[in-house]
């Protein structure tokens, strides 16, 4: 039973990783990495911590991850059937899809009108947030530790007290004429 449970966990993990990697793709962590499609040459949502964020109880989605990953694999099987694709059975069905087909399926699941749209949008949103805001980590520490998402976006480092300040912030010159119908206090007349 233990082995089966572990295997279910692995299925869930690699399925969710493949989903997160579809949202913001990354480089394969090793040559035999199947969850990551490998269409980028630098880290994506998975290495940024998508699974850590999704499993954070604060998100409210942790309890739904099992059912969502099972549903995603069921959708992948149906999708493969529709398109005459044969799926490699060594990995979960969604993981077996190539990047272009993962994109097409995620696009369908997150489209307006899809009955399960809300769930897939939540999964996408937190996958995205792992990369662009590292919401599972303190931002200053994330940057100090080289968080791949914040680093690639060029997020500035905070001051030594952990706060951001930008003393250099303005071109400091008039760059347009004000609208002629402006009141003395600066509002539309």
């Amino acid at each position: 039973m233990g082995a089966v449970a572990e295997s279910d966990d692995q299925v869930q993990k690699s399925t969710l990783e493949a989903f997160a990697d579809t949202i913001l793709p990354g480089v394969k962590r090793s040559p035999d990495d199947r969850a990551i499609a490998g269409v980028c040459d630098d880290p994506g949502a998975v290495e940024a911590g998508a699974l850590e964020l999704l499993n954070d109880p604060a998100t409210g989605v942790a309890a739904g991850l099992g059912p969502l990953s099972q549903a995603l694999n069921a959708h992948a099987v149906a999708y493969a059937g529709e398109h005459g694709l044969s799926l490699d059975e060594d990995v979960p069905p969604f993981v077996a899809l190539d990047y272009e087909n993962r994109v097409a399926l995620v696009e369908r699941l997150t489209s307006p009108g899809h009955p399960e749209q809300s769930g897939w949008v939540l999964l996408a949103m937190f996958s995205n947030m792992a990369f662009d805001s590292a919401a599972h980590l303190s931002t200053g520490e994330a940057i100090a530790n080289g968080h791949p998402g914040l680093l690639q976006m060029g997020f500035a480092k905070p001051d030594s007290d952990g706060l951001w300040r930008f003393p250099d912030f303005s071109y400091g010159r008039e760059l347009a004429k004000r609208h002629p119908e402006t009141t003395e206090s600066g509002s539309p007349a």
């Binding site: 662009d132 060029g154 951001w164 250099d168 347009a176 206090s185 600066g186």
Partner: protein, 544 residues
Amino acid sequence: MSAVESTDVLIVGSGFGGSITAYHLAAGGAKVVVLERGPWLEGKDFDHDYLLGKSYTRVFDFVAGDGMSVLGGNCVGGGSVVYFAALPRAPRYVFERQGSIGRRVWPAAITRDTLEPWYDRVSEVLPVSQQSWNDISYAGGLWAAACNHSGHTANPVPVGIDTAKCTNCNWMMAGCRFDAKRSMLFNYLPAALSHGTEIRPLHEVQKISRNEDGGYRVHYNNIDEVDYRVATGSGVIDAKIVILAAGAGATPVILQRSEEELGAMPHGVGRYFSGNGERLNTAIINEERVGEVLGLRRPNGAVYEANQIGKGPVVACWDNVDGSKPEYSRFSMEQLYFPPGLGTILAQVPGKSGATWFGKEKKEMLKRWKSWLTIFLMTEDDNEGVFGPPPPTGNAYRISQQMLGKGPLRYDPTPNTLRGWAEADAAAKEILEKDGLATVAPWTNDLVGAYTVHPLSSCRIGDDPATSALDDRHELRGHPGIFVTDGSSVPTALTVNPALTIAALAERAVPGIIEAARSRGVDVTYGAPLPNAAASRPVTGSAA
């Protein structure tokens, strides 16, 4: 027999509408209690941190509806703590709007001229000031220069910011760490406290019932300070006057839930919601072209690369804020910073077809994040939002511990609204894509619907009982003694940032509320001096 707590005036929510009324009523002698569903934070509590559970998620409420999502405040000070402090007055034509009903929507008593004295009062308290070009961030400067290059004007936006304290950190949306942003925490709320107002955070009002004496009983849940999904208790307070100022995404829900006990609500409750016609466009700046065409250069040698630097919206183009144009063709275009997270996922890759909010092209776009410039469009929508049956508690089914929920709002944009959005999108694109300055695409509406940070009109004032929930004194039709003073009372989209108009309307509503309180036996007078911003200290939780 159990003793039920009672007060003269019970106020729901502590943003602009709640703080302003609380101050005047307390200063006039009434006993005032304010119930606020969110926590009570002050400067030192406002973290620069996206970690879930920090102030960033504690002070916001993001509610996804069907076709429209609403971002609002959830803390003492409400919307004033999470706003960007842009405080223009609404243009004159707004008050003449007809919308889809074919006749003037606003009450006859309210025009730009009649509202001016009330605008003046709020502008003195906050205070509101014009920015100089030296205050304008790189993002605002770039937007101004691009407008100028296209033959447009561009205005530094009037704001409630103490520029001497501002560090241009760009975290201001999540509360100001440096006490530079003029929120209600610095003026009306401390002044209200000094006159005995009680502010109770983490109290979420669920419904109102009527007492035999004609007063009201307000029912609330106590909310856990970490997990907002958890109620830790409940209670009631009796009041002679109830003022609802919970925000346009929550006030109508409270009234709908109260209908069983209070009797039928006016038709306008939970209808005519407006998202202030808001749209966000993301421009990816071509640094080289901007340098060549606009001649901009930073001291460090960069041209722009400054998306992260600044303080919210600082420059607006008002060329389409033009009363001679037909309705739905009038809009403002304002530069804005929107932090990562929700704002980033909704940005689409310009020039691509299909779903471009995710995938490898989107990741490439994120790598150019420093070169993003966000343009915020405020257009005229058609007040087409409708609230469905209320959730069991609060204004949404809460999903996350904080911030994220699913609400009952439905918003299906009419052809008028869609046309207005498209015209504004096209205008922003024309300016920013001229001579290769940038590529631009609007945020996607496919994920969480349209998106507003300025929800309005869900209980609007008006003269016509068929299309307004409140009379022109902000009293709920058919329910004397209940007033609404938040953004839900504003009858139409404003085509500019609405905070000053919401505040001015709340100031204007006060004499009528005091008159109603007096008629209900409350010993209260009108005429207290305005809070002195300079003399006020920041309001703190320990004062409660």
